[in-house]
Each structure stands twice: as structure tokens, then as C-alpha cells.
């Protein structure tokens, strides 16, 4: 790991790696691991019991109360910890970094732009795009997830999704490689067909119809090709065969009332095994959903309850108040959607296309405020999601012989004070920074000026490293660079100062590995104090003080 860059940044990485390698928990020294004296909740709804969990090659081998386990086992003392099934993300773009959309060339015949321009790419898979070292993976793991259903980014027929374990192995740890087809109402880019929802709907129908004929012809050709024209159907059409015969579920993005109604109407023609994804509002469709047995993935992007107007001097008329109440009621309806589906026994899970994993606890709180019990939520995030994805035979609960997808927490799950200390993904242990963060209270109204040069120090175990930071202010927007001790400059990203809370990010690639750092600190005129977090490696104290004022 000796690279071109020798500055402080590299030192940080080395330091971190050393730190990790010395940690026994993070080393797979043995094929066997034991989580000892843990309070196990085997599956949602059961009460905890004190056991030892024996894990062998990523599988839960035994759940025992004796200490009769293999001598070479790495033992994790978990006396004060709880073990829960790790969460399953039923739909997101985790591990599938966003690429900038290429500027498309103008289609010469906008009415027939070809498959790609039209957004018809069902043959695409997420396989070659998956990056399990992407920052999004660690964020999900930290939030308690061991499995993600990765949906491709794209348009009306984006492609096929995969269910993967959230760990970086030599090969991609698929649980289900071609798990799903992902469809949306998203129109084509630019002014080409289909540019509207009516174009998209008719195109879906046409493609499925084409696939139906194509498949039939291919079958008859396969049985007796003599004298028959070779089928030669495009891969886009062929890719739909598994959806047609319902061997591949069709995850369909439908957020609001109208989308849901339309998706259900569309599926009357497509006859796919449809699973509505990222749903926020179902309107009058509950009976239809029930009758059709269509599962729902609720978007966990739940809005906050509207706050009461604080400014008492502001006069709100009765009619305005009525409008506010209606908005509140609409929000309430979304917040209670899970509860509604539960009461109607409609299968549901959660999707995370628009939700930050770090917000999970906040969203869970909203669900609880609206009637969901902790068990309900855990169930939806584990076994129910596994059932919808068709992986409940291997994960979703912590039964014997299932995958060791476990989270270890320092208290009962979904309690505000509880943190997830470890996420175990197929036996691989990920330790999270458990140091309770010093709460940065911040002062929203504080007026500090960041502009100027600062010296900053990262306190990494074993060593301290100092760098120089230079911030500039233009039109109330900050920008900045980091200068290492060799004088090389690195541009900081997303520099923000809200009140007196400073945050910025920095990322660079080192020998194929993307290093993402983010800093959050509280600024007091000439000093700041906060943390720097680096990829999977955790957070470390980060302090600084002012060298110079901005040039006036």
C-alpha cells in the first residue's frame, strides 16, 4: 500500500488499516465463531433468551446454552448485548453508485428512438455495476442491514435487480442473482418516445405482447426448426420471458395514489407477478390490492409531522387552517400506511430508494407513533422482506442453519438509546464505532466566519496527523481545499456551515480503492472540534484552530 500520495491522507489510511488488522473481531481467524452469552431474539415477536450462537462458515450452526463449541472458535463476549436478525432492504440502489447520465444524441426519428433511448433496458442487470465497497454499503450495514435488494437505475424498464449480502467478498455475494425486473413510469430522456406516462404504459403493454409472441415462436422453433425462419429476437424482448412466466417478480415503482391505480391497471394486461415499490399513498386501492395479493414495499421516506406555527404573531385564517389540517391528515395517512396494510393483512416490506439509512431510527419512531409495535417493524424489516424477496428459507430469522445475518445491539432494538454495535453478514463481523457521539448541539443562529486558513489534526489511534485547511466564502457559499504536508491540494466537497456546524467531505481514489471522508465539527470563532469518519473504518476526533483570517 505504497502509493503516489505520501501525505497525511495515506498515513491515515495506513493507520486505519493497522488499527483494523489488530482488532481480533474483524479478522476471520477461524471458520468458527461464537457469540457468547447474548440475548437472542430469534425472530420478530419472540422474547430474548440468553444463549451462545455458534457460527460455522457463515451459517448459524447451533444455538446452545452450553459452552460446548469448537476449540478454534473466535469467541465474542456479548454479555450485555442483544442479537437480532439483521435487516433486509427490500429495494434500494445500495452498492449501485449513481452515474451521471450521458448526454444522449438527438434521435433522428424521435418516435422510434431505439431501445436504449426509450429507456427499455430489461436485459441490463446490476451485476457488473455492483460495488460492495461503495460507501452506501457501509451506511446500510451500520443501520443494521445485512441484505439489500439492489435495483438498477434507469427508466421504464430499468433492468434486473439482485439480492446481495452486504459484504465485500472476492466474488459478489448474491443471494439471488436475477431476483427481479424493475419497472417504472419514468419517461425517456429528451423528447423521444415515450415522453409521457401514456407513452410508457402503452410501451410496457407492447413489449410484453411482443415477448409473448416471441417466446411462443421460439418454443415452436425449438421443437421443430425445419423450414422455419430463425427467431432472432432482440435481447430486450427475450429478457422479459421470466417476467411473463412469473418466475421473476416485477418490482414496479408506484409512489402515489394515481401511480398505484395505474400500475394495477397496467398489470391487468401484463399479468406479471407485480410488487409495488416505494409506495407512499395507496388511495382507494386497498381492496384491489387485497384481492390481487400484490405485496407492497412502502417507501420509508416518511415525512415528519407538520409543526405548529411557532410565530404567534402570524395570523392564520380559518380557511388557511383547514388547508393545513388537510395536509397534516395526508401526512398522517402516509405515516400510518404500514399500519393500514397490517390491519388488512396485505404483505408489505420497506424500500429505501429515497431514504438515508442513517435516518432509520427516525423513521422507525414515526412508525411507532402511528401504531406499529417494535415487533411489527422488526418483522417487516426481516422475515417479511425475506418472504417478499423469496429468500426466507435462508435468512430473515436466526434459526439454526440459516445465514448468520445478525445485529448485536447494546439494548432492545429500536429504543432511542440503543446502538447497533456489530453487524454480522454471513458470519463476517463488522464492528461499528460505538463511542457515543459527543452531541453536537450547535447553534443555528450563531454567526461564525469560516473563511481563512486553519490547521487541523486527526487523532487516529497511535498517531496524530495534521493538515492545513483553507476556506473561501463567495456569495454565502463556502468552498475549501485541504493541503497536506507536501503542499498537495485536495478540493473539499459539500462544504457547509449551518449556524456554527461545519461539514465537508473529501474523497479520492487510491489504488482502486475509493476513500470517502466526511467531517462534522462545531466551530467557535477560532477553534473547531468534531469528528472525521473514513469509509468503513470508523470515526475519529478531529480538531482545528485558525491560522489566519480571510484576506480582506
Amino acid at each position: 500500500m505504497i502509493g503516489r500520495i505520501c501525505g497525511v491522507l495515506l498515513c491515515i489510511i495506513i493507520a486505519l488499516n493497522q488499527g483494523q488488522s489488530q482488532s481480533p473481531e474483524n479478522l476471520q481467524l477461524s471458520k468458527n465463531m461464537v457469540i457468547e452469552n447474548v440475548m437472542l431474539v430469534e425472530k420478530a415477536g419472540l422474547s430474548p433468551k440468553k444463549v451462545n450462537i455458534v457460527i460455522h462458515k457463515g451459517i448459524i450452526k447451533e444455538i446452545i446454552t452450553t459452552t460446548n463449541y469448537p476449540p478454534d472458535a473466535v469467541v465474542i463476549k456479548a454479555d450485555s448485548l442483544y442479537a437480532y436478525p439483521a435487516f433486509i432492504d427490500a429495494g434500494s440502489h445500495t452498492a449501485y453508485p449513481k452515474k451521471e447520465e450521458e448526454k444522449q444524441e438527438r434521435a433522428s426519428d424521435p418516435g422510434n428512438p431505439g431501445y436504449d433511448l426509450a429507456g427499455v433496458t430489461p436485459q441490463h442487470t446490476v451485476h457488473d455495476q455492483l460495488n460492495l465497497t461503495d460507501g452506501s454499503v457501509d451506511k446500510m450495514r451500520k443501520a443494521g442491514f445485512a441484505v439489500s435488494h439492489v435495483l438498477p437505475r434507469g427508466r421504464m424498464l430499468s433492468g434486473q435487480g439482485s439480492v446481495v449480502l452486504l459484504k465485500a467478498d472476492e466474488t459478489i455475494p448474491y443471494l439471488k442473482k436475477d431476483a427481479s425486473m424493475y419497472g417504472t413510469f419514468k419517461s425517456a430522456q429528451g423528447r423521444v418516445f415515450p415522453s409521457t406516462v401514456i407513452g410508457v404504459m402503452t410501451k410496457h403493454r407492447e413489449l410484453f405482447k411482443q415477448a409473448e409472441y416471441a417466446k411462443r415462436y421460439e418454443n415452436s422453433y425449438a421443437s421443430s426448426p425445419l423450414g422455419m425462419e430463425r427467431p432472432a429476437y432482440p435481447e430486450q424482448i427475450q429478457a422479459l420471458y421470466p417476467v411473463l412466466d412469473k418466475s421473476q417478480p416485477f418490482f414496479f415503482h408506484a409512489e402515489k395514489t394515481l401511480d398505484v391505480s395505474r400500475a394495477l391497471t397496467l398489470n391487468k394486461d401484463l399479468k406479471s407477478k407485480m410488487i409495488l415499490t416505494e409506495v407512499k399513498q395507496i388511495g382507494p386501492n386497498i381492496d384491489r390490492l387485497k384481492a390481487l395479493g400484490v405485496p407492497i414495499l412502502i417507501s420509508l421516506d416518511l415525512p415528519k409531522t407538520m409543526e405548529e406555527e411557532k410565530d404567534s404573531t402570524k395570523v392564520i385564517s380559518d380557511s388557511e387552517q383547514k388547508l393545513i389540517e388537510r395536509k397534516k391528515a395526508a401526512i398522517k395517512e402516509y405515516q400510518s400506511l404500514a399500519m393500514t396494510l397490517k390491519s388488512q393483512s396485505i404483505p408489505f416490506g420497506f424500500s429505501f430508494l429515497e431514504t438515508k439509512p442513517g435516518d432509520l431510527q427516525k423513521k422507525v419512531t414515526i412508525l411507532m407513533e402511528n401504531g406499529m409495535s417494535k415487533d411489527d417493524i422488526l418483522k417487516a424489516l426481516t422475515i417479511d422482506a425475506a418472504t417478499i424477496l423469496g429468500i426466507s428459507n435462508v435468512t430473515g430469522t436466526l434459526e439454526r442453519n440459516k445465514l448468520a445475518n445478525i445485529i448485536l445491539t447494546d439494548g432492545e432494538i429500536f429504543e432511542k438509546e440503543t446502538t447497533i454495535n456489530y453487524t454480522i453478514v454471513e458470519g463476517k463481523l463488522y464492528k461499528h464505532d460505538v463511542k457515543k457521539k459527543k452531541k453536537m448541539t450547535g447553534d443555528k443562529d450563531a454567526k461564525v466566519d469560516l473563511a481563512g486558513a486553519w490547521t487541523a489534526t486527526a487523532k487516529i489511534p497511535g498517531q496524530e496527523q495534521s493538515v492545513k485547511l483553507i476556506f473561501k466564502k463567495e456569495d454565502d457559499e463556502y468552498s475549501g481545499v485541504l493541503v497536506d504536508d507536501e503542499g498537495d491540494e485536495y478540493q473539499l466537497k459539500n462544504v457547509e456551515l449551518q449556524g456554527n456546524i461545519l461539514s465537508f467531505e473529501l474523497s479520492f481514489t487510491q489504488q482502486g480503492m475509493t476513500i470517502d471522508m466526511s467531517v462534522s465539527a462545531q466551530v467557535e470563532t477560532d477553534d473547531f472540534e468534531g469528528t472525521i469518519s473514513v469509509n468503513d473504518f470508523g470515526s475519529f476526533p478531529f480538531e482545528g484552530s485558525r491560522l489566519s483570517n480571510p484576506e480582506k
Partner: protein, 448 residues
């Protein structure tokens, strides 16, 4: 928190009379009944049972629980039918090709559109939600019933109404495709060829399938929704509703249709229809016109507000439409203008917005007049509907009162987006006309 629920449930109550039922019973007593097809009946009752007009007579008695509306001194008329509108749908134009026959605005029905309620408040019970006029051959349209209050798009459809499709001639397709994409059509000659090519291709497509179905060929042709629709037009299953203005292009389309054996044709706008009224009448084409719109673009500069009268008097099946979420609220007044511009009789004028548009949509056996056995779509006015002082007081769709001026809360939205914002002032001056070109160029939609 509790107070929210109370207010919310009150709110729900206040609009709940709209919800949850498709067909109803109602007895309208002692009104002046304008039947449209059978004269005006003074002091008559109209009884609607299970959504159907059961009886029209004096002194009808109905079962106890039936809702009774006292229409003494009021005017009871068949619900207004608008043969050209764009309300109740979220998409108007798929403006990407000169022929987009494969799209269908019925896929974009929007029962949440508060314009539907506003149309009801203007007595309109049925409207023809059309594709826009960006393409020479646009998409299929949807005839909808204004069952506002229902949130399921399926509830808005007028089930079993004949299929219709939008065609468009002249400036709009020329501008969008010729000027916009540099492809045919840039001229009215080009528009004709788009029509002819499409029909010719459809004939071939049809043949290819019949060859396959009869076993003559083994490999199925590539399924093509655009051509499927075109074939259905050729087979007479779809009524063409064509956006048109100039006399020459109107004649052109009649010729093209004749050449391909298509005989279900209604012209929309058809501002210069009056110039070829004898030809329209002889061909049997309908005309659905504006009461007085003109001069908003060059092809309507040589127009006259007397269009409806000239067409009517020349025997053309004529209706007056709105093409606008504003105008649809007072089509009775738009019809009344045909008395100012051309002295039509009351009956002639009212037919323009009831039975005539119903005929143009192929639904005159179900709506458009007050007759026994027809659907219970009724509007009740305080004054004669052709008077400027006419105010619709009740609008009934399939026997269900969907608008009642005495129970008319200000905020009539039926569905609130949890992520949407609270309504604020929206300026409408620059766009209050029509939505025919909506979706083509968002900032430039003042085009009819």
C-alpha cells in the same frame, strides 16, 4: 393531535355525499323539464332509479328513502356533454412522433383533478378527454363521466363508450414536427401524407397478421400497438376526432378517409367549417366548434362566431365544446352565444351541448337528453340555461348528486399529496385558454 382528527373527520363528512356510490336514486319534482329531444315539459317530475331515468311525468311518487329535489321554478335539463376537453387527465400530448396512435389518454385519467368538480358546477356530466393536437395522428381519447369524489380512475370511465382517437391538421403538427424536429410534416401536404402512409401501413400490417393467423406464414409479425390502433380505425371501431381549422385541410381529410373506407369522422374546432358546410353535411362528418374563439393564430384569423349557426343551418351535426378548463364551466353560456351569432332556436342551441356532442361521441343512446331508459345525468338551473342569469344548482350523474350549490365547500380537492405543498396563488392569465398543446412546450402553451 385529537383535534386534527376531529377536523379531518368533519371535512370528510362535508364531502362524503360524493363518495362511494356509482348509481343512485333521485326524484326531481315540479321542474320545467327541457328534454332536448321531446320539447319542454312544464311542471314535470323526473325519477331516476338505480342511475337510470325511470319516469318523466307529473306527480310521480317514489319510495320513501329516495332523495327528492324540489325544482319548482327551476329548469331541469339533460347533463351537458363536452365533446372536447382535456380535464381529468394528467397527460395531454405524447408529442414525439407524427403518429402516436398507440397511446391512450385513458391511461392517464386523473380523478383528483378539481377541474372535474368545477365542470360539474357548470352542469357538465360527460366530457371527452382528448389527446392533444401536437401530432397528425395523436392518441386515443377517453369519454369520462364526472363522478367526482371517486378516487379510482376506473370509476371515471364511461364504460362501453365507443373508442375515439385524436387527429390533428395544420399548424400544430407542422410546428411540432416540421419546425421542431425537422421531419415531415412541415406543410399541410405533409400532414396528408402522414395520414395516407399510416393507413397504408396499417393495411399491410393487417394482412401480415391474417397471413400468420391463417397459417400462411409461420413467424408472427412484430406486435405494434400503433398499427393495432390504426387497423381498428380502418375497421370502423374508432371514431376520428380531428383538430382542424382551414377549409382545405378539412376537405383533405374527408378525401383521405373516403379513400380508406373510414366513415366515422368528427372535426374539432373546425373554424373554417362554415366555408365547406355543404361538403361536411354531404359527407356526414360532424363539427365540434368553439362558440367564438378566433384570431389566436393565423389559421383562425378568417373565422366567424356564426360558425355554429351556419353549420347547423346547413345540416351539419354540430356541437359546441370547451377545450378549456375555464370554458367547460359555462358551456350553457357558450351555446347561448349561438343565438347572438346566428339566431338559433332554444332547442337548436341546447342541442349543441347535449344530444349533438353525444351523437358525435356515439353515446346518444345513453345520454344527451331526458328520456326514459337513459342514464340519469341531469343539471338543474335556477333560470333558463340560455339566460346569462342561469346558475346551475344541482348536477346529477347516474342518479348521484355530484354538485349541490347548497353543499359546496370551498376546498373540493379529494386527495392531498403528503409531499405536496399547501395551495398558493397561481396566475392563470397567460394560460386560461386551452390545453390542446399541453406538454409540448411548457412555457408556450397558449396554442389551441
Amino acid at each position: 393531535m385529537k383535534s386534527i382528527y376531529i377536523i379531518w373527520s368533519l371535512l370528510i363528512c362535508s364531502i362524503s355525499f360524493l363518495n362511494g356510490q356509482e348509481k343512485g336514486d333521485v326524484l326531481i319534482k315540479n321542474g320545467t323539464v327541457i328534454t332536448i329531444t321531446n320539447g319542454v315539459l312544464e311542471n314535470h317530475d323526473v325519477y331516476i332509479k338505480d342511475g337510470i331515468i325511470k319516469n318523466i311525468a307529473k306527480d310521480i311518487s317514489a319510495p320513501k328513502n329516495v332523495k327528492i329535489i324540489d325544482a319548482k321554478g327551476k329548469f331541469v335539463m339533460a347533463g351537458i356533454v363536452d365533446a372536447h376537453s382535456h380535464i381529468g387527465i394528467t397527460t395531454v400530448n405524447e408529442a414525439t412522433a407524427p403518429n402516436t396512435a398507440q397511446v391512450w389518454v385513458g391511461d392517464a385519467i386523473n380523478p383528483l383533478d378539481v377541474s372535474l368538480y368545477r365542470a360539474l358546477a357548470g352542469g357538465v356530466t360527460v366530457s371527452h378527454a382528448m389527446h392533444g393536437s401536437a401530432n397528425a395522428i395523436g392518441g386515443e381519447c377517453e369519454t369520462i363521466k364526472h363522478r367526482y369524489g371517486e378516487i379510482d380512475p376506473e370509476m371515471m370511465r364511461m364504460k362501453d363508450a365507443p373508442r375515439t382517437i385524436k387527429f390533428a391538421l395544420g399548424e400544430n403538427p407542422m410546428r411540432v414536427h416540421g419546425e421542431g424536429s425537422d421531419i415531415v410534416p412541415a406543410t399541410r401536404m405533409g400532414v396528408e401524407q402522414v395520414m395516407r402512409n399510416s393507413f397504408a401501413e396499417a393495411k399491410k400490417y393487417k394482412k401480415a397478421w391474417s397471413d400468420f393467423n391463417s397459417g400462411k406464414t409461420k413467424k408472427p409479425p412484430m406486435y405494434d400497438n400503433r398499427m393495432e390502433t390504426m387497423v381498428d380505425i380502418l375497421e370502423g371501431e374508432i371514431i376520428i376526432h380531428c383538430h382542424s381549422y382551414r377549409a382545405d385541410e378539412i376537405l383533405m381529410l374527408m378525401n383521405v378517409c373516403k379513400d380508406y373506407g373510414v366513415n366515422k369522422l368528427v372535426f374539432q374546432h373546425v373554424n373554417e367549417g362554415f366555408k365547406v358546410a355543404p361538403e361536411l353535411a354531404a359527407w356526414g362528418a360532424g363539427a365540434s366548434v368553439f362558440s367564438d374563439w378566433w384570431a389566436y393564430k393565423f389559421e383562425v384569423y378568417y373565422s366567424t362566431a356564426y360558425n355554429a349557426a351556419i353549420l347547423t343551418k346547413n345540416g351539419v351535426l354540430t356541437s359546441i365544446n370547451s377545450d378549456s378548463q375555464e370554458l367547460i364551466r359555462h358551456l350553457y353560456h357558450e351555446a347561448a352565444k349561438s343565438q347572438k351569432y346566428g339566431d338559433l332556436t332554444d332547442e337548436e342551441a341546447l342541442k349543441l351541448i347535449t344530444i349533438n356532442p353525444a351523437k358525435q361521441l356515439g353515446i346518444d343512446d345513453r345520454v344527451g337528453s331526458i328520456e326514459k331508459g337513459k342514464e340519469g345525468d341531469i343539471v338543474i338551473f335556477n333560470n333558463h340555461p340560455l339566460s346569462i342569469y342561469a346558475i346551475p344548482e344541482y348536477t346529477i350523474v347516474d342518479g348521484v348528486v355530484r354538485f349541490d350549490i347548497n353543499e359546496d365547500p370551498t376546498d373540493m380537492r379529494v386527495d392531498i399529496d403528503p409531499e405536496g405543498s399547501i395551495p398558493t396563488y397561481m396566475h392563470t392569465e397567460t394560460e386560461d385558454h386551452d390545453r390542446c398543446m399541453q406538454g409540448v412546450s411548457e412555457s408556450h402553451n397558449h396554442q389551441h
